[in-house]
């Protein structure tokens, strides 16, 4: 494992992203960090993530902090340069997920989504409550599931390493 790194492909890869038009305008002012609820509580440090992403020194294999973002979008809203740190974090997550780095919790969610079309499980309690409230049973029909299967197959979710 590298202890210091320079990965010239990373900033190049990020600059290809749709959102990255303004990426190199980041002048490390730290306004992203000033509004970050995760940073205040010991999680991600958006300004540092930006610095490492732009300089190609973000270690995708070892830095887990990108998964500690709540996606509140405060950083991107606050950034006066239009740099979109939340978009950068999303892109780093995608690259990390492709290398098998996503947290188990999110991988189970993907698995459930692929199998049922929903991100939360239908349980016995679901049916009981819906019955009591006089609501119809919740269903994802077979045709819908087929269409979902096709989309997953044609897009990157189908290639995500979901089992470890």
């Amino acid at each position: 494992m590298r202890t210091s790194s320079f990965d010239p492909e990373l900033p190049e890869e990020l600059i290809q992203e749709d959102f990255a038009e303004f990426l190199r305008r980041c002048h490390q002012c730290g306004q992203c960090s000033s509004v970050c609820p995760s940073l205040r509580n010991g999680g991600i440090r958006p300004r540092e993530v930006m610095e490492r992403a732009i300089t190609g020194t973000f270690e995708l294999e070892t830095d887990r902090s990108i998964w500690l973002c709540t996606m509140c979008n405060g950083c991107s809203e606050r950034c006066e340069m239009g740099v979109n740190p939340a978009g950068v974090i999303n892109a780093l997550r995608r690259l990390s997920a492709q290398r098998g780095g996503a947290p188990d919790h999110l991988l189970s969610e993907v698995k459930l989504f692929k199998e049922t079309g929903l991100a939360f499980p239908r349980t016995r309690l679901t049916s009981k409550l819906r019955g009591e409230l006089d609501l119809e049973e919740l269903e994802v029909d077979a045709d819908t599931q087929d269409e979902l299967d096709l989309i997953v197959k044609r897009t990157s979710m189908g290639r995500l390493p979901v089992e470890r």
């Binding site: 205040r40 509140c72 947290p103 919790h105 499980p121 409550l129 995500l160």
Partner: protein
């Protein structure tokens, strides 16, 4: 907003919080909204965790649902901040790019995204029908509320057409129509920590506590939110304050019985 709408319920409400679906349906009925469940609905590929792992999947899944509404010549109303941002951001992005690729996939199932349907949140809908709503409210809600809009109702403001990211007032305005008092409003919509639940519970809880602390300090008697994710956080991770979802406050103010809309299923009982 068209008069004919598709209701997109998402996943969390119909599976875990069906009582929020119940009160929402009752409010839509009372407002005489011509609404039909979105046929062929799936999860929106929620924009907090799942979307970041496979953004092209998110775009195709959301474009598929938008195309279904489009062929029925209906707009979409969502009950969840996550679904709202997910569909709205896809619609926003597809105005500039990605359309051809998405339509190649959709074409294989006989569908086509052309951008003909708009996406609204329940909060948008009730604000647009202010007159009908006001005339259906019969009960003065004597309760001081902490107003919690949730992140994705106003950020990114370039996508969700919010009234602006600083001190949003729409939810507080609707609360005021019911006669409720406003004990606390956020200048910068704060985070409930829900996005990290299951990923890092300790961090999630510590973000959550910051938000709730402000409400308690301000003397709120209950929390009002239009987001089911925030709802779950508030209802399951603290005991001091009950939480009301937007449609619950409105249904109560319309004179509906708390038990009929399932208030007894809250963990922290609202006592209303």
């Amino acid at each position: 907003m068209r008069d004919e709408l598709h209701l997109f319920r998402g996943c969390l409400i119909p599976t875990r919080l069906p009582f929020l679906e119940k009160s929402s349906r009752r409010v839509l009925e009372a407002l005489r909204v011509e609404v039909e469940d979105l046929p062929g609905a799936t999860c929106c590929v929620e924009p907090i965790g799942m979307r970041s792992m496979a953004p092209d999947t998110w775009l195709a899944v959301t474009a598929r649902m938008l195309s279904i509404a489009e062929s029925a010549e209906r707009d979409i109303v969502t009950l969840c901040n996550g679904c709202y941002l997910s569909l709205k951001e896809a619609h926003h992005l597809l105005q500039d790019r990605g359309r051809e690729e998405v339509n190649r996939t959709l074409g294989e199932m006989g569908r086509h995204y052309g951008g003909g349907s708009e996406v609204f949140h329940l909060l948008d809908l009730v604000r647009q029908r202010r007159e009908e709503l006001m005339s259906s409210l019969v009960r003065e809600m004597e309760i001081d509320l902490a107003i919690h809009p949730g992140c994705h109702l106003s950020r990114p403001s370039s996508v969700v057409d919010a009234e602006g990211p600083f001190r949003p007032g729409n939810l507080a305005e609707v609360a005021g129509w019911t006669g409720a008092g406003i004990a606390h409003r956020q200048d910068w919509p704060s985070c409930c920590g829900g996005g990290l639940s299951g990923v890092d519970d300790e961090l999630s809880h510590s973000i959550f506590k910051e938000t709730v602390w402000d409400f308690l300090e301000a003397g709120a008697e209950a929390i009002l939110t239009p987001c089911p994710f925030c709802f779950v956080q508030f209802d399951s991770k603290q005991r001091e304050l009950p939480v009301l979802y937007l449609s619950e406050l409105l249904a109560l103010s319309m004179g509906l019985d708390g038990e009929e809309i399932g208030l007894q299923h809250h963990r922290v009982k609202p006592g209303l």
